[in-house]
Amino acid sequence: MLLIRCPYCELELPELEFAYAGEAHIARPADPAGLSDEEWRDFLFIRSNPKGVHFERWRHVNGCARFFNAVRETVGDKFLATYRAGEPRPDVATLKGDAK
């Protein structure tokens, strides 16, 4: 069971309080009607599913109920960072400590 830091509560809490909510930074298109079928398909279904660093959404559903974003390394299943919804992606190299 992972410990997850809620960026709103600013507390590290057990995974039991949270719910996973899919890949992050996939914004709903402002004008869906203007998208081709292929573009809409990509928005709906195509996900990166990386082996490694994944940007994903979580909800502190049994706590403050806020949605937030997280950077998780999927091989070791470790969180590198969590941040509030709407904030830009953190720099992965900095998080992993291998920035030049």
Binding site: M1, A33, W40, R59, G86
Partner: protein
């Protein structure tokens, strides 16, 4: 005194005999015994039959690594556990133990014919032998194999025990209370940091329990142990837990513990849980699990009486039990020599010490000779004899790498030692790296991924002194990392027994190796030959060899077999061990009961049960309940002598004729409030909301972004900026989650607040032609006449003096109202309406009548008539889409090519040709029932009922191009015969003009 018990020896209580039975025969052991030690004290080695070959087996070890001595342990009805290790089961008065996998008896077992057919059962035999004919697999091979091979039988009664669970947090968790763990606990505990020390044994001490001759800090080992445990118990910051197995090591230092609370007690306290599962989050973990002794691999190394040398030492020193009169020692490591010496000094002189090495420390041979024990160096062992107990050992000289002449040595026990391997299981759970140490020829823990330290023999440090020193250092460092000042106190040790050895493959033999039964995995009956066969047949990865041979896949998780299997596989592959690598260990470390995992989640506390404020009334009035999501809902209210069909027909009839009352409190309710509330609903739901007037309701349809129906419900506008949204009973939390998701992450600019109000309102539905007549006198401040308060009106008012939200809505097709009052008043309102309704023959109805009446009107139930693949058009709800709206959730998907293609399944009505036949929900529909199998299935029945109002059965179904098939006859093939049905494109079976609704 039993024949093999030594007086005044061991940690058992010689003054407290304990009676028990094994296979119905009575025996006596001592308090402090395990089942295995008590049976050995009685001279019983034969305790089980092996999994595949049914070979007679006795205990090989003294602990949780035991592969052979698996028994069923019973304590009255509902308290039976199969596959219990006799080496772990503590003896208790009245214990009933039975052997397994034998028929008719343990000593004479028909299944042992498999042993002689061994060549049929080589590695991968399942894959090779029973390939065809396919039909034989289910009917012949599988049942026969299942019957012949196996371990214990499952209990047949529900478990009568209860189980507990608990969370804990600690600074330092130490796993293993042997010398390393105890030293770590002392070092950390004296610093004041919070320490948990856990051990799977009945008492702390680990190896010290088996080696009383060591002197620590000037005290005999057991005195030092007693002092240390007393000090730890006196420290308020230290918790020592025995009979507690660390079963799994999970992320961020979460360790699962299973604590056995009552299995060792003759009479457990009433209500005491049998086991407790702990989830411990530790800042620092110290693994002090020690090392596991490996068997030697030679023909006949599995006969009863053949066991690990270290096990014999533990039986002798901890339990005061001699494992035989004339044991022979066979070893590749110095440690077994000391065991021979202990035995000789206690009066049981070993017949011989055979060492595979050409030379050993002369101090060992000198001591052996002084004790009168014959020593044979540079030998191999090529066989044993004896059916139910080993009788002799066959030893051959090794000359220039060739196997020389054989000699048989009579013995009644063989004590083997193939060296020691650090216990890496928990470390492996953390994905920690495992390194090969060429010096000690063993795998040791490498780079870690968690805040963990491994101490003592667990990282290849042999001997008590090394374990104490390493444990103290690890405990001090862990305490410092937890923020304390801590010292690693030194310990002085004399009479320590360190030693070294070699790591081998199977021992060389002069006999046909293909005929040898040299076991590696005792529990799964895997031999050295099986491993070599797997490699010959193309397995290259150790993970493939493991799965092909099942080596290490038994309930002991390969504690004894993994390294031996790896060494032989590496040899067969022509590689070095580290190039082949070790298979991954996974939780749990030892078999763990389902009860421990379930904990409190059984019976009434399996999951939460939600009840409405009106539920007690329903119960008092004989309701039959059904679960709907987590709710308990009244399904129907039978009168004496009525079955469900009779009750439902009566409830429907009464409602349509006069007046029904229904508890709709479970409906999900979400209050949507704010200046942008209407904009928000416009975007979420398919329907238009902007022009919905205050005091009006509308049916709302919610899609996923993929265009499929997710939920529905009536939404009432109470004010320009306030909506009362209802959802399906099961969908309430999902819908709120979805709304919050869009509101927080897509449209954070909208000023809207969402509040779940499901449990704040009790909802009483009054349905039927007399609904208004009953309700009118109760309502204050509102004219509810047909003209003033039409269908789909909503208002806040007072009902029976209670603040209320009154909806004029109907899910039955009758004139209907839903009265929402604060939940605490729900039952009072219900009872007042009930009393006042008697002149109208007011009838409470349940969910079943509700289902029938809504189906008579063709109203869908999301999740029953839809399944996540239906669009609004598929469900006949195209009218609910606001055509002028530029966008709403799911809108773009509705024009994707697949969503507008022909052939989509559409919701239609079905009428059986025989009106008395009720279709089965879920039944498949075909056009031509005579077509060859597999038939083309056009769809399935989603709802089917007997309708009292229509005097016949009705059904709803999803059928490919359903609406175009209006009037067509289709067929529903059932086991009893084919049912002919006619398609009707409208599901509104009853009162399609809605005349009754608008009354």
């Amino acid at each position: 005194m039993t024949r093999y018990r030594l007086p005044n020896r061991g940690r058992v209580d010689h003054a407290r005999p304990v009676r028990f039975t094994f296979d119905g025969k009575s025996y006596t052991g001592l308090a402090g015994d395990t089942l295995a030690s008590a049976l050995l004290a009685n001279g019983v080695h034969l305790m089980g039959r092996s999994f595949k070959y049914h070979r007679p087996r006795g205990p090989v070890s003294t602990g949780s690594d035991e592969p052979n001595a698996l028994v069923g342990a019973r304590r009255g009805p509902g308290r039976f556990e199969p596959n219990t290790r006799a080496t772990i089961q503590e003896l208790r008065e009245g214990l009933e133990a039975t052997s397994q996998n034998r028929w008719p008896s343990l000593a004479f077992d028909i299944g042992s014919v498999n042993d002689h057919l061994g060549s049929l059962f080589s590695a991968g035999f399942y894959y090779k032998t029973f390939m065809w004919p396919r039909a034989f697999w289910d009917r012949v091979y599988e049942p026969v194999i299942r019957n012949a091979a196996g371990l214990g039988v499952s209990p047949t009664e529900p478990d009568a025990d209860t189980y507990a669970s608990r969370f804990a947090h600690t600074d330092v968790l130490i796993v293993g209370a042997g010398p390393a763990g105890l030293a770590a606990a002392l070092a950390a505990g004296r610093s004041g940091t919070a320490v948990m020390l856990v051990d799977e044994n009945a008492e702390p001490g680990g190896a010290l329990l088996s080696e009383p001759s060591v002197v620590i800090d000037g005290k005999p080992a057991w005195d030092w142990l007693a002092t240390t445990v007393a000090e730890l118990n006196a420290l308020p910051n230290v918790t020592v837990m025995t009979r507690t197995t660390a079963i799994g090591y999970y992320h961020q230092n979460l360790v699962g513990l299973c604590q056995r609370l009552t299995d060792h007690l003759a009479a457990p306290p009433a209500g005491a849980p049998r086991e407790r599962l702990w989830k411990v989050r530790a800042r620092e973990v110290v693994l002090a699990q020690g090392a596991l002794e490996k068997p030697l691999v030679f023909d006949g190394n599995d006969r009863p009486g053949v066991m690990l040398a270290g096990a014999a030492q533990t039986y002798l020193n901890r339990y005061g039990v001699r494992v035989g009169d004339r044991p022979a020692v066979v070893t590749a490591h110095d440690s077994a020599w000391h065991i021979a010496f202990d035995l000789a000094e206690s009066g049981t002189r070993p017949a011989v010490i055979v060492d595979v090495r050409d030379t050993v420390d002369p101090a060992l041979t000198d001591r052996a000779h002084a004790l009168g024990i014959e020593t044979l160096l540079g030998r191999t062992v090529t066989g044993t004899s004896g059916r139910l107990r080993v009788k002799s050992l066959r030893v051959n000289r090794m000359e220039n790498g060739a196997v020389g002449a054989a000699r048989d040595i009579a013995c009644d026990a063989v004590l083997m030692c193939g060296g020691w391997t650090p216990c890496l299981h928990l470390f492996s759970h953390t994905q920690g790296k495992i390194d090969w140490d060429a010096g000690i020829q063993a795998y040791i823990p490498g780079a870690t991924t968690e805040a963990v330290r491994i101490a003592g023999a667990g990282r290849g440090l042999w001997g008590i002194a090394a374990a104490l020193e390493d444990g103290a250092a690890a405990g001090a460092l862990a305490a410092r990392d937890a923020g304390r000042e801590a010292e690693a106190q030194p310990h002085t040790v004399t009479a320590d027994r360190t030693g070294s050895g070699v790591t081998l493959t199977e021992l060389p033999t002069d006999r046909n190796p293909a005929a040898a039964k040299a076991f590696i995995d005792f529990q799964n009956d895997v031999t050295a030959k099986d491993i070599r066969l797997a490699v010959r047949e193309g397995m290259r990865s150790i993970e493939h060899v493991k799965r092909y041979t099942t080596n290490g896949m038994a309930t002991d998780q390969g504690k004894m077999s993994n390294v031996n299997g790896l060494m032989i596989a590496a040899d067969a592959l022509g590689k070095r061990a580290p190039q082949v690598g070790l298979t991954t260990f996974r939780p749990p470390y030892t078999p763990t009961t389902f009860g421990a995992f379930a904990g409190y989640r059984q019976g009434a506390t399996f999951e939460a049960m939600r009840k409405t404020p009106i539920d007690p009334w329903a119960e008092a009035h004989g309701a039959v309940f059904e679960p709907v999501a987590l709710w308990r809902r009244a399904r129907y209210f039978p009168k004496p002598g009525e079955d469900m069909h009779a009750a439902v027909a009566r409830e429907c009839r009464a409602t349509r004729a006069s007046l029904g009352i229904f508890d709709a409190s479970t409906l999900g309710k979400i209050e949507v409030v704010g200046p942008d509330a209407v904009t928000f609903l416009e975007r979420m739901y398919t329907n238009p909301w902007a022009k919905l007037g205050v005091g009006r309701c509308r049916y709302g349809l919610l899609l996923g972004e993929d265009g499929f129906i997710r939920d529905d419900g009536v939404i009432g506008r109470l004010a320009p900026d306030r909506f009362h949204v209802t959802t399906t009973t099961g969908g309430a939390a999902r819908v709120l989650n979805m709304m919050e998701d869009y509101l927080q992450t897509e449209w954070p600019d909208l000023q809207v607040w969402l509040t779940s109000t499901t449990e704040q309102w009790a909802t009483v539905a009054l349905q039927g032609p007399n609904a208004r007549k009953l309700l009118e006198p109760f309502v204050e401040g509102l004219d509810i006449s047909a003209g003033a308060f039409p269908h789909m009106a909503v208002a806040e008012c007072t009902v029976s003096g209670l603040p209320a939200r009154l909806f004029r809505v109907s899910f039955t097709g009758e004139l209907g109202f839903e009265v929402n009052v604060p939940a605490r008043h729900g039952r009072a309102l219900w009872e007042r309406l009930w009393e006042a309704g008697r002149p109208y023959d007011i009838t409470p109805y349940g969910t079943e009548a509700m289902h029938v009446m809504r189906a008579e009107k063709g109203y869908i139930i999301v999740g029953q008539d839809t399944d996540g693949t239906l669009t609004p058009d598929d469900a006949g709800l195209g009218w609910a889409i606001g055509k002028a709206k530029p966008d709403f959730v799911g809108k773009r998907s509705l024009t994707r090519p697949d969503m507008v293609a022909k052939g989509r399944k559409q919701l239609v009505g079905l009428l059986t040709d025989d009106p008395s036949v009720v279709l089965q929900e879920g039944a498949q529909i075909v056009a031509d029932p005579t077509q060859p199998i597999p038939m083309t299935m056009l769809g399935h029945v989603t709802s089917a009922y007997r309708s009292d109002a229509l005097g016949r059965s009705i059904a709803m179904a999803v059928v490919a191009d359903g609406r175009a098939r209006d009037g067509e006859t289709l067929h529903v093939p059932m086991p009893e015969g084919v049912i002919a049905v006619k398609v009707v494109k409208s599901t509104a079976f009853h009162d399609p003009e809605n005349a009754r609704l608008s009354a």
